[in-house]
Every structure is written in C-alpha cells, then in structure tokens.
Symmetry: C2
Subunit: 327 residues, 2 copies
C-alpha cells in the first residue's frame, strides 16, 4: 500500500493548456491547477511557468514543494525518457529541451517526463477504463491522433521507443495530406483537425451549418469539441455528416488494431471522446465490429470511452512516477 | 543442446500441396516429402494421406515411425491449438476437424497443430532471417496475406489467440472486396490472388501481356509465382505495373506495422518472396521507408526476405514441437 502522504504532482503539458494535479499516495486528487500554454517565448520561460504552477498546486494541496516526492510530466512529442529531454514537440515549438533537469533545478524535486499519450494510456490502464486488463490499446483523438499500447500490464514501447503511433497508420492510400507529410493516415482523416478541415470545406462549398455562429457566440476561433457538441445538439447536418465519416474511419482504425494485436480492450480518449462520450464511441464501436476478422472479437474485445477525461494525462504521469520510483 | 537423435517430422499443410521435413535434434533436414493436397474427399482421407507422407519421410530419414518423437503441423486457418483442432480452414474446406487426435490414432506419436503463418514466423525467427532478434513481424504473401508477431522472443498470440492478422487490416477505405467479405484489406490489394485479379483485369481490358502464353507453356491455370517471375524476366509491362502497385501497398502495410509496433525486423515470406527475393522485397522496403514516422526507423528496422523459402512452415512446425515438448 503506497504511503498516503507521498504526494506527487502530475502535469499534462499541452499545446493549449497546462494542467497540474496534486495526488496523494492513494491516488486521491488533492488539488488541481491550470493555465494557458504561453508560447512564443524561450522554453525557459514556459518551464518557469510550469514550476510556478507546481508550487501553487502543491500549496493548494496543503504541502510545501519539499513535501512533493516527484513531479511527473506528460509532454506532446518525442521524448528521450531516460534523460528527460523533449527531443521534438512541434506543438510547443520545442527541440531538445532538457525539461526534467531544468525543472529539477527550479524545484529541487525529482522530475520525470514521458510522451503525453503514453502517460494518458498508463492513466486509463491503472486508474480508468483499463482497470484490471493486461492488454489494451488507447487511442487519443484530439488535434492529432495518438496511441499507446499496454501488453502484459506494461507500456509496450517497441524496439526503439516508437511503438503506438496508430494515428500514422495509412487507412486510405492516396488519401488527404497528413501533418506528418504522408497521405491517408488515420490522423488526416479523423482527428479534430481533420474534422474541422472537412466542416470548413463543406461550409465553404455552400453547405448550411450553424457552426460559424456557434463559434462566434462562444468566442472560439477553432471548431473545438464543445463547438462540435453544441452543433450536434442543434442537429447540424454538416457536423453530423462529417462526424459520421470520422467515426467510420476510427472504427476502421480500431478494426486494424484488433486484427493485428487482439487486445482485450480498446479505449478511446481525448477531447472529443471526453465531451461526447458514448455518442462518439458508440458509432466507432459499431464500425469497428464490422471490421473484426474473428466474429468472437465483438464479444470479447471491448471498445469504450476513457473514463478519466481530461485528467488522464496528469494522472497517468503520477502513475508513471510511482512505477519509476517504485513508490 | 538437443539430442541429435530426437527426430521430428514437421508438416506444412497447404491448400495446394503438403510438405514434410524429417529434422534431427540439431535442425538438420534428413529427408523431405511432398504431395498434392487432394481435396473433395472427407477430411479423414486427407489425414490418412498425411500419415502416409509422415511414414514415408521418416523411412527416408532412416527411422521407423516409432523413432519419431513428434509430428507437428502448420495448417491454414483458425486452429484450436490446445485441442489440436482445425476450427476453420476455408482452403481445405475443413470445419472443426480434430487433426491432432486423428493423426495420433494413425501414427501413435504426439501430434501438435498451429496456424501455418504462426509456425512460418516461428521458423524464420528461430532458424531463418529472424535469428537473434527478439521483436519481429513476419508477413507471408501468398494466396492470402498472413502475419505473425514475435515479441520478447515469443509468438505473440493476443488475448484470444487471434493476433497477427495484418493481411486483414484496411489500407484503402472502400477499396476492392476481400475474401473476408470486407473492403480494402491489404490481402485484397497485394496477395497473389489480388495480383492475379489485376493482371487478368488489365488483359481483359485489352493490355498486351505474355502472361497467358507463359501459363499455357507451363500448363498452369493460375498466375503462380513462377509465372510472375517468367513474365518479369520478359519485362512484361502489365505484370511490371501490377507488381509495382502491389509492392507499394505492401510497403504501406509494413509502414503501418512499424509505426504501430516498432519491431527490430519485418520479414517478408511466402511464395512470391521466395521466388523473386530482393526484386520483390527491395521495392517493398523502399515504399515502407517512405511511411516510417520516425526517421530513425529506416536505419534501425530491417525489412528483408525470409531465408527459409518453402521450408519455413515445416521447419517452424518443428520449432513449435520442440518448444511445446521442451526438447
């Protein structure tokens, strides 16, 4: 049984916002902190902001920073896990940033870093929709599509630490251009970015939609998950059509994963799934079932929404810290 | 060190032919037997033929059937490995055939059965192109496309024994119909069957090709690997074009596998690869490299032809037997 007093601060470092959770040894959330990710400065400036957020969140949880046994961060991009360096994070405009050592200098606590999707999947596995399941795949649908694989109860990293990039598997040869420079990746077809592109395309082509109005009402310049939700509540035909297609693509992706890895569970996480829940995951599941080669998979392989919502990343970072430090 | 005298007969049971290898404890092939797969009778008739082939091959190796410590079979289709039952093998028109127990009754030796592609990958892993590599994926391109995954040095079977069906991952949404009833699977785009369909389609549409002539010369009614080889030697434009496209699709499949699993090696096996070798695998590798998300994969992940050729299945069955019986 972990010591209840062993408080860890988990950080979900995203391109839009930074979330911190102070969690006790029994995984109870004691305090939450959040701030916008201010880009456009040197990495050091953002790292200072993260340090301040950690201190504030610890304070709110009733401990000084010296009472925090570890700070653990999920960061978007390629991470050198051993050295705690963010090798490349396009969303942060970071390259070779020694995040762990810089933050350790500022805070004096042990700091560890891993990929945000990997820690999100670890969070869902240990504390969320993956509890008590040893083999699962997590797919996080957001700005991009990330994935993480748990085999035998452990994060499966592959030979070089690059496993799990299911968002960059091609499901449509010669399909639309992906952010990675290739064509027809799942990410280019069904990420929030692809959904936004298709909705805007339909509107520009003259289709009637309430989306622009909803964005203006809410002061958003992007088609966020909340905008999608509001448009679906209004039965918006363009959004309905585009979402239906994205759900089909995601179902095909889930089918490919199940036919390749035969996991016990596939968990759909990320912003859209957090917000729309079963309305999003239900159609993905139905489309996936059509793809399963073995009829039995439909009975034996669960396709479900993540249960930690926006907390998956920060909680997963806490799980990671506990594993690494054997707490 | 295994006992040199522990002779095992490995069988590769295919829809076209049955191959038997009698192998000693140091994996030396002592004798080979082969016969056509006669379908159209009850399963028992074919099982009797297999028994006779085992006896003949053992005899040629200089041992009586009592001197054979195990008979091990790779069979095409879904296998209940524990009970040695071929649950479903469309190529043999078999359903729920208790192959192991029937053959054990006839021969008096221990008999084990596993999926042909799984044993083929085990063979390449233990004795062929996968030697000394712990994480690899094998793709066997033939009538269909099968796959097998080795992780941590062991066959990875998934939660229900269904892992590795990479031939039935969709790479072209709404693509051509696959034998599995779905659309756009890799198998529907790049198996020998798909290649044959596309060559015949082009010829029917009026394209000039020497393929029909080559088939007649050789008395073949199908476009086999040897027909493909002969046509390529003649620089046949239709075959060149269709093969180029199939190699591109296979490269995309390899890319999807590498981006998902980050293995050390991908081995391309099966009839076409055995026959064409690097002429087939080279273009697949080049197309795959274009797909790798991590630039480093091109340096670190080898894409290569299997080295056991037609022996992969029967040798892999021997490897399987030795693992199961701890010989």
């Amino acid at each position: 049984m972990p010591n209840k007093k062993e408080i860890i601060v988990g950080i979900d470092l995203g391109g839009t916002s930074i979330k911190a959770l102070a969690v006790d040894g029994r995984n109870k959330i004691l305090a939450m902190g959040k701030k916008k990710t201010e880009l456009g400065h040197k990495p050091k400036v953002l790292i200072k902001e993260i340090a301040k957020l950690v201190e504030d969140t610890a304070k709110e949880a009733g401990v000084k920073i010296k009472g925090v046994v570890a700070v653990s961060i999920g960061a978007p991009g390629a991470i050198d896990v051993r050295r705690g360096v963010v090798t490349e994070a396009p969303n942060l405009h970071w390259k070779n940033v020694p995040l762990a050592s810089e933050l350790r200098l500022l805070l004096g606590t042990p700091v560890m870093v891993d990929n945000d999707v990997n820690v999100g999947v670890m969070g869902e596995h240990a504390l969320g929709a993956g509890e008590r399941v040893d083999n699962l795949v997590g797919i996080f649908v957001g700005t991009g599509i990330g994935g993480g694989i748990i085999l035998g109860g452990k994060l499966f990293e592959g030979a070089n630490g690059w496993a799990g990039e299911v968002g960059h598997t091609v499901i449509m040869v010669d399909g639309p251009m992906c952010g990675c420079g290739r064509r027809g990746c799942a990410e280019a077809l069904a990420s929030r970015t692809a959904i936004e592109r298709d909705i805007r395309g339909a509107i520009e082509a003259g289709a009637k939609s309430a989306v622009i109005e909803i964005m203006e009402e809410r002061g958003k310049d992007r088609i966020t998950s909340s905008v999608l939700q509001a448009a679906l509540a209004k039965n918006d035909p363009v959004v309905k059509q585009v979402m239906k297609r994205a759900e089909l693509y995601l179902g095909i992706l889930v089918g490919n994963i199940v036919n390749t890895l035969d996991p016990q569970r596939v968990i759909i996480g990320g912003g859209i799934a957090s917000r729309l829940g079963e309305n999003f995951v239900g159609p993905i599941r139905a489309a996936a079932y059509e793809q399963f080669l073995h009829a039995g998979s439909a009975k034996l392989t669960k396709v479900m929404a993540g249960s930690l919502g926006d907390d998956a990343g920060a909680l997963g970072a806490v799980v990671l810290a506990r594993k690494r430090m054997r707490l």
